[in-house]
Every structure is written in C-alpha cells, then in structure tokens.
C-alpha cells in the first residue's frame, strides 16, 4: 500500500527533476524561456510547441525580408532598365547629331550650303609660268638709315671702291 506521504515525496521528486531539466533547457533558449517559463505558458502548452512557433515566426520573418529585398531589387532593376533606355536614347541622339555635323562639314555639305547662300565659284585658279623675279631681294627695305660713318671712312671708301661699311668690315 502506498501512503500519501510517499506519493507526495515521489511527486515532489519528479516535479523537481522535470523543473530542473526545463530550466536548464530554457536557459539555452532565453527567448523561449520568457514565453514558456510562466505557469500560464505551461498551462497553454507553449512549453511543448514554443520552439516550433518561434522557428515558424523566424522563418516567416526571413521570407518577408527576402520578399522585401526582392521587391526592392526588382524596383531598382526597373529603374536601371529605364536609365539604360534613357542612356541608349541619348547616345542615339548624340550619334544623330554627330552624323549631321559630319555631313555638314563634308565638301558636299559645304557646297550645298554655299549654293543655298547664293555663293558661286570664282574663276579657276591660274598659274603663271616660271620666270626670274623682277625684284632685287638684296635691296634694303624701308627708309635709308642716317649716315653716321666718319667722313674719313667715306673718303677712303670713295678712293678704294665699295661702301664705307665694306671697308670697315675689311679692316677687321
């Protein structure tokens, strides 16, 4: 026969072991511990399913975060796509302007513009045949320099021939 006291001590002994194990496990999962440590949580059965709930919540949070990042990435890629199109359009316009510029600077373009402006070709260029130059390239250019040669040098030059400067140079 089992007495009440023995049953009580057995209950106390069992409860103590279970409580100790639960405490040890709950200290390893502090978040879960706060949820499951109370008596109310124990009554609700959260002690058993707490981890599953927490994992599910975490998983959902991760999925939501992934979806948010994915949506943001998609939006950014749309923006990039738009900018890419805009860039291509600007490049196309730039190429078009470059082609117009090149066309305007060709001989045909210049001739067309000149014709539109009423300009006409002048007479064809003429060449003259080769002939000796009629210019004396040795002649001094500009007004004569003031005569500053001493009189005796000019007299000497008149006697020996040549210019006064020649005589001076020869003297050196």
């Amino acid at each position: 026969m089992v007495t009440t006291r023995i049953q009580t001590s057995r209950r106390q002994l069992r409860t103590g072991r279970e409580a100790h194990g639960a405490r040890r496990r709950l200290t390893e999962w502090p978040l879960v511990a706060t949820v499951t440590s109370g008596a109310a949580a124990e009554r609700l059965g959260l002690a058993t399913f707490g981890r599953v709930y927490a994992a599910a919540v975490a998983l959902v949070a991760i999925v939501i975060a992934y979806l948010l990042v994915g949506a943001q990435t998609t939006q950014t890629s749309y923006e990039l796509d738009r900018l890419h199109d805009q860039n291509a359009q600007l490049v196309a316009e730039q190429d078009d302007l470059r082609a117009q510029d090149a066309r305007m600077h060709t001989q045909a373009g210049v001739a067309q513009a000149a014709s539109a402006a009423g300009l006409q070709h002048s007479n064809a260029l003429k060449y003259v045949g080769y002939q000796p130059l009629a210019l004396d390239l040795g002649a001094p250019i500009g007004p004569a320099r003031p005569e500053d040669t001493p009189l005796w040098q000019r007299a000497l030059a008149a006697i020996v021939g040549g210019t006064a400067r020649d005589a001076q140079a020869a003297g050196r």
């Binding site: 026969m1 089992v2 994915g70 990435t73 998609t74 950014t76 890629s77 749309y78 990039l80 796509d81 291509a88 490049v91 196309a92 316009e93 190429d95 078009d96 470059r98 082609a99 090149a102 066309r103 600077h105 060709t106 001989q107 045909a108 373009g109 067309q112 064809a124 260029l125 003429k126 060449y127 003259v128 045949g129 080769y130």
Partner: protein, 589 residues
C-alpha cells in the same frame, strides 16, 4: 507493512476479451486493404510527382526558363571608317522600326493613332487603320525611321506604339547628288549587319567585332529583373578603320569623273589616285556609283566595284611598260630610231598605227609621244619574248595587285603566245587588267622603278597596317629616262590636254585608247579611253589613272583617251595641287 500486489489486467473490466481466430483475420484483412488503398493512393501521387519532377524535369525546366529567362544579345558597335585626316566616311547612328500592338489599342483610340502615325510616317491613313483593325498582337508599321521621326512619335505618346532601335550605317554625300562618297570602295552594311562589297566586306570581321550575350530574368512585360544569376558575356566592339583616302580629293575626283562621263556620253568611268611613293590610294571613284545609305534601291549592277571587278584592255598606256622593259634591257634608247610605214606584219597579221599613216623615221620618244603601235611592236621584238613577258609579270600584269579590297578580278597571262599576240600585247590589246593593276604598273616609273602594292587601309584601330609589299622592277635610271619620255608626251604629244598650268614642263603622262571586245570581236566603235600620269615629274606626289568606258562623242577621234580622259585627269590634278600645296619648281637649267 507489506505491500501486496496482483495482476491488474485480469481485474480490469475494459480489457479486451479473447476473440476467435476468424474475427481476427477479418480485421487484419481490412487493415491490409486499407493499407493497400492508402499505398495505391500514395503511389499514384508519388508516381505523378515522379513523372513531373523527374521524367518531365528537363522539358519543364526549359519551358520555365523560356518564360522567365531571356537571353539578350548585346550587340557590338561596328567600327567606323575614317579618311587619312580623320574625317568620317562611315559612321553609326540609330534608326527605329515603328511597331504596333493592335490588340492593345482600344477601338476608340484607333482613329487618333491612325491619324498620328499616318501624319508622321507619311503613310496612307487607311493602311494604318487596316493594321490597327487586324487584331494581331504585333505588326510593323514602318522600318528604319530616323531619330527625328522617333522623337515626334515619342512626344505624341500614342498607345500601343513601340519604337525598336536598330543600328544604321551612315555614309557621307558624294560628288554627285545621287551617290555617297567612295561608295564603290566602301561597300555597305546590309540589314543583317554584314558588310557587303568593298572595304566593308573585306574588313567585316574586324569592323563587326563580336556580339555578347546576357541571360537574365524578365517579368511578364519583358522588363529585365536583376536578381543575380545573370550570365553576361560582354560584347567586343569592332575596330575603327583609317583609310588612305583623302576626302577632298575623292570628292573632286567624283565630281570631275561624273561631269566627264556625262559630257562624253560614256557608259561609265573610273579614277584612281595613288601616292606615288607609298602606293596608298588617295581617291577611288567610279561613275555611276550608288547611294550606300539606300543600297536597297540601287541598281544591282552598280553595287560591284568596277575598279577591281572589271577587267579591260589598257591600250596604249601599256606602251609605258613595253618601252620601259626594252630600255631596262638596253635594247633601245629614247633616241633609237625606226622606220614606221604605218603598219607592221607580224605572224601573218598586219598591225597598224591608230591613224593608219606612215610616220617615216621616228625615235622611240616620238613613238611614245604619238602613241605609234608600230614602234611599240618593234621595241617588243628588240626586247625579245622572254624579257617582254618577264617585264609584264614584274609590272604586275597578269597577277593580282593584292589590294585590300574584296572582289578583285585578275586575268592571268596566257601560257603560250603567238607572235601576233605578243605584238598586240605591246600596245595593250590582247591583255586584260583591272584599273588598280594598271595604275600600280605605271606607278613603277613614278617610284624610281619600284613596284609598290596599292592599299587603302592605313590603320586598323590603333595598329598601323603592315608596310606594303614592293619590288624593284626596272632600274631607277630606266625609270628616270622613261619619265623624260612621258614628259615629252605632255609637252609635245598626245597628252597636251592634260597640261596643268605651272607644271607644263614637269608633268608626265600617257594616253590610251583600246577597242572593246563585243561578241568575241573588237568593236570598231566602242573603246576604252584612258589617261595615266604623275606629277610633279621630277618628284612625283601622285599617280592618277582615268579610264572611261565607251564614250560617244560623235566621232572616233573625240572618243580617244587624249580627248575624253586627259581633261578629267587635269581637273582632278589641279584640285590636288591646291589641296596639297604642290608648288611648281624651276625647270632644270
């Protein structure tokens, strides 16, 4: 205190009583049936899953990939083509194919869209309306519209209208209103992006580059989603080409040739100008040519480049080659005299001078001045067959010029020659060349006896083209002597209409007129009229050959090279002199 115990089971009233063996089997059978049904159901589900996941995996993956993944071609930008001074000859722009999605356009909007499109694209309104009512998902309205049209359509913001950009090659306007500059040399790029004819075809692999690709996700509207896992291979753009062409000279050549051909009522004509020392092609003009910007509308016969694709008999221009060979062999001198009765019999065939008259005793210089066939035949006979054929080959007659343009046609020299054939070859009949070959042959005289390979490409990208091949054909002394004889042609002979003021005493040239072959016979009326020359003679800057096909000026005399081609040569030479600042030099004392 003793603790007693007894078995609990026997005393429990709810414990199952012992059943018979038959009832136990029925229960087990039911369980087995249920298990079998469950297994069958599960098996069918798992089997179906296996079918979709394993058996159909590849095809389903492909379908999914086709729906979500898109492989986008990243087109390479085609290299541009520039002239020697960097002026663009062929550049790229963007044109647009105008598309429409009739299903997207509401019935109430059709009239507005049709009005807008027909107004901007200059299309019949009813035609556009028919397209809009077709109920198709997609249709082209117009192709290759310029940027200005695209801008107007963009501003109108019509529903269901798309603009699909495409690259477009643009060429510069040429010497006459209906052609683009150097079209026969450049060729064009077809709608598929492939170079056709000329430089565009020859250098297509370098110009085209290599397309890349991008594999990426796309949404239901076809927009790119950059979610990683992209596979990207970048495109390699094509290299730019820098040609040796001078745009200004090219333009002048096209103008002068067009005027000359039209003035002579000729069928066609060609002009080639090359740098005497390097063989670089400065101008390359054909008339008639075509508009490379609208190649689809061009006459197909004009697309090929007559300069290299057609061969002709050069006529008396060949006398330069004949006499140079004889001079180099020491068989003749400029003062060597012969008696010219106006004809010569060779191998039973009587060959005559162009005027069929006796010229009495003439020097070899006179032979060149007056372009006497009898004198050329005599020079060939003095030179001997082997030496004559050797010089033909050395001057490049019978072998390709090697020019870097696609489609060169070469007529090989025959292997066995009758004496009469050798004799006619001495004055340029019975041998066929293309224009480039002939220009390069005469350029030997301008380049101190050295043949240099004609070429049109100076640089590919930043890499200079390899130096052109060259070979010594005749001695520099022979070339100098031949130059004096060719100067005499301009001063005293048939080249007088090519005299350029200021360079009358420093210009070398030679006329040529050859009968065309029609129905395997020489035509009495139709000729090739040509003129070749270089300037200044004492230090040549350029060598130019003008060939006009089948001029029709009313008389045979006025269809000859001196009358038809020499003035064209002169006009172009005057332009080059101005552009290149070539100044006359004092004649040697």
């Amino acid at each position: 205190m003793a603790v007693t115990s007894r078995p609990l089971g026997a005393a429990r009233p709810w414990s199952a009583p012992k059943r018979g063996a038959a009832r136990g089997d029925t229960t087990r059978l039911r369980v087995l049936w249920l298990l079998a049904i469950a297994l069958m159901l599960a098996g069918s589900v798992w089997g179906r899953l296996f079918y979709w996941q394993v058996v159909e995996h590849t095809s389903l993956s492909e379908r999914a990939a086709a729906y979500h993944l898109a492989q986008i071609t990243l087109p390479a930008v085609r290299g541009e083509i520039h002239d020697r001074d960097g002026n663009p000859l062929a550049i790229n722009t963007t044109v647009y194919d105008v598309t429409v999605a009739p299903r997207v356009i509401a019935a109430g909007d059709r009239a507005r869209v049709a009005d807008g499109l027909s107004g901007v694209l200059d299309l019949p309104r009813q035609q556009v309306m028919d397209t809009l009512r077709s109920g198709k998902e997609f249709a082209y309205v117009s192709r290759r519209q310029p940027q200005s049209v695209a801008d107007r359509l963009h501003a109108m913001a019509l529903p269901g209208i798309g603009l699909d950009p495409r690259p477009q090659r643009v060429y510069q306007p040429g010497g006459s209103s209906d052609v683009t500059l150097a079209s026969s040399l450049l060729g064009f790029v077809d709608d598929g992006g492939r170079g056709q004819y000329g430089v565009e075809q020859r250098y297509n692999p370098r110009l085209a580059g290599r397309s890349g690709s991008l594999t990426t996700y796309r949404d239901s509207l076809g927009r790119e989603i950059r979610l990683g896992n992209q596979r990207r291979e970048n495109a390699v753009d094509g290299a730019d080409l820098t040609l040796t062409i001078d745009s200004d000279v090219q333009y002048a050549a096209e103008q002068a040739l067009a005027d000359g051909v039209r003035g002579a009522h000729a069928q066609s004509g060609s002009v080639i100008v090359m740098d005497s020392k390097t063989g670089a092609i400065v101008a390359w003009a054909d008339y008639p040519a075509y508009d490379a910007n609208h190649f689809g509308a061009a006459d197909q016969g004009r697309l090929k480049d007559g300069m290299v694709a057609d061969i002709y008999e050069p006529g008396s221009v060949m006398k330069v080659v004949t006499l140079a060979g004889a001079l180099d062999q020491g068989k003749i001198l400029p003062t060597t005299t012969i008696v010219d009765p106006g004809y010569v019999d060779v191998g039973g065939v009587r060959l005559r001078d162009w005027d069929e008259r006796s010229h009495g005793t003439v020097t070899m210089t006179n032979v060149l001045e007056s372009s006497l066939n009898v004198g050329a035949v005599r020079a060939e006979q003095m030179e001997g067959q082997d030496a004559f054929l050797h010089y033909l080959d050395a001057f490049g007659i019978g072998r390709g010029s090697g020019i870097d343009v696609s489609g060169e046609t070469v007529s090989k020299l025959r292997t066995s020659w009758r004496p009469s054939e050798l004799a006619t070859a001495a004055f340029g009949q019975g041998v066929a060349v293309n224009v480039v070959q002939m220009a390069a042959a005469v350029n030997v005289i301008a380049n101190q006896g050295r043949w240099v390979q004609p070429h049109v490409v100076a640089r590919v990208g930043a890499t200079p083209a390899p130096p052109p091949a060259s070979r010594q054909v005749v001695s520099a002394q022979t070339a100098q002597t031949m130059t004096r004889m060719m100067e005499s042609v301009v001063q005293h002979g048939s080249g007088y209409l090519a005299r350029v003021q200021g360079f009358e005493l420093n210009e070398a040239g030679k006329t040529g007129t050859s009968q065309m072959i029609e129905n395997r016979q020489y035509s009495p009326d139709h000729v090739w009229a040509s003129y070749v020359g270089f300037l200044p003679a004492d230090n040549p800057r350029f060598t130019m050959l003008v060939v006009v096909r089948q001029p029709d000026n009313g008389s045979s005399d006025h269809n000859e090279g001196y009358y038809v081609s020499a003035p064209i040569w002169k006009r172009i030479a005057e332009q080059i002199i101005q552009d290149w600042r070539i100044t006359p030099t004092a004649p040697a004392a």
